[in-house]
Symmetry: C2
Subunit: 206 residues, 2 copies
């Protein structure tokens, strides 16, 4: 009962998380998860009753990890340029550790929009109002162009996520090996801060 139980249960969960993120729900096999966890397949059903239940727990956890990372930073009190830099650093660090999470969520989200809707409602996940307010303020004070905060939010998130989501495409089109791809990502951080702040004509607050 004691520690072995938690260990095994967690071991299964983490293995399932990796396999589901690699293959998606339809492509994942219970046997592959068992192999990845280095346990017998019976244990999967012993702890989680079905593939679907196991998947939902994994999915729910990943969704709850994915969005707060963005929204917490965007909802903070910092000035826009600092906030952007902080977001890019934080999100890149997170995505380096979880390189498949974005693609996983995007794919499963579009397979089962109702489930996604349910989860974000339950968890109360939503873009921070403070971000929109901040954008409006900056516009009013003449510190940046007039833009729709939603367009800006989607652009920022898209610019950050896209290389992770379309990694294979980037690697093959530019003929990059893994190391060169990581260099590309690192260079991208500075590029993005500059590109986005210029894009909205941000003037800071001297």
């Amino acid at each position: 009962m004691s520690e072995n139980k938690q260990d095994t249960e967690e071991q299964i969960f983490e293995a399932a998380s990796r396999v589901f993120q690699r293959k998606g729900y339809a492509g994942a096999r219970m046997q592959e998860i068992a192999d990845e966890a280095d346990i017998n397949k019976s244990m999967l059903h012993y702890y989680y009753r079905s593939k679907d239940k196991l998947f939902q727990k994994v999915y729910q956890r990943e969704v709850s990890r994915f969005f707060p990372v963005i929204f917490k930073v965007l909802g903070s009190e910092r000035p826009l340029d600092e906030k952007l830099e902080h977001l890019i650093d934080t999100y890149y660090a997170f995505l380096d550790e979880n390189p498949r999470i974005a693609q996983f969520i995007i794919h499963e989200m579009s397979q089962h929009p109702e489930r996604f809707r349910k989860f974000i409602r339950e968890k109360g996940i939503q873009p921070p109002e403070r971000f929109s307010r901040q954008i409006s303020e900056e516009i009013d004070r003449g510190r940046m162009k007039k833009v729709d905060p939603r367009q800006l939010l989607i652009s920022i998130v898209g610019l950050i996520l896209f290389p992770f989501v379309a990694r294979t495409m980037v690697e093959l089109l530019f003929d990059l090996d893994e190391e060169q791809f990581l260099d590309f990502l690192n260079e991208r951080k500075a590029f993005l801060v500059d590109f986005i702040l210029n894009g909205i004509n941000y003037k800071g607050h001297e």
Copy 2:
């Protein structure tokens, strides 16, 4: 033999294309394809010998449609601002007709990178050199900021594709129905031209 043959074969192909794009390879069912094509399942194997062969033909066609749309425009002779506007118009029109193609390609590409590599080599698909040259020229003439053309290319493509790839996310986070989402996309066209040209500090050529 004549026209019925081609009709049915094409009917199967188009149905398969839709189902594979909706569900992905692993999630697609041969029966669902047959139903969608409104023919008997036997016909699938009569024309295409296996699920895998049918999929590969669909995949190959979609890949050959997807990339040239971007690369042809980017490789044209126009000035940068016109080119960008033209790209956004062209690509949005294409994506309106094929709303799932980006996600489909991205997902299957990362499931089988070798296959993707093989296809783009055979088809000779690669980002147009003329685009890189043009960027270098514009930088040399002081018409824009110094940027890595690759970073710019990925940014442009990412900004365009992301709302399609993550459509469910956009709709649910901003609470948009289908019509409102289409409005969002339409507003995005003007936003993007402006955002990108500002992002690289483009000064035109008066």
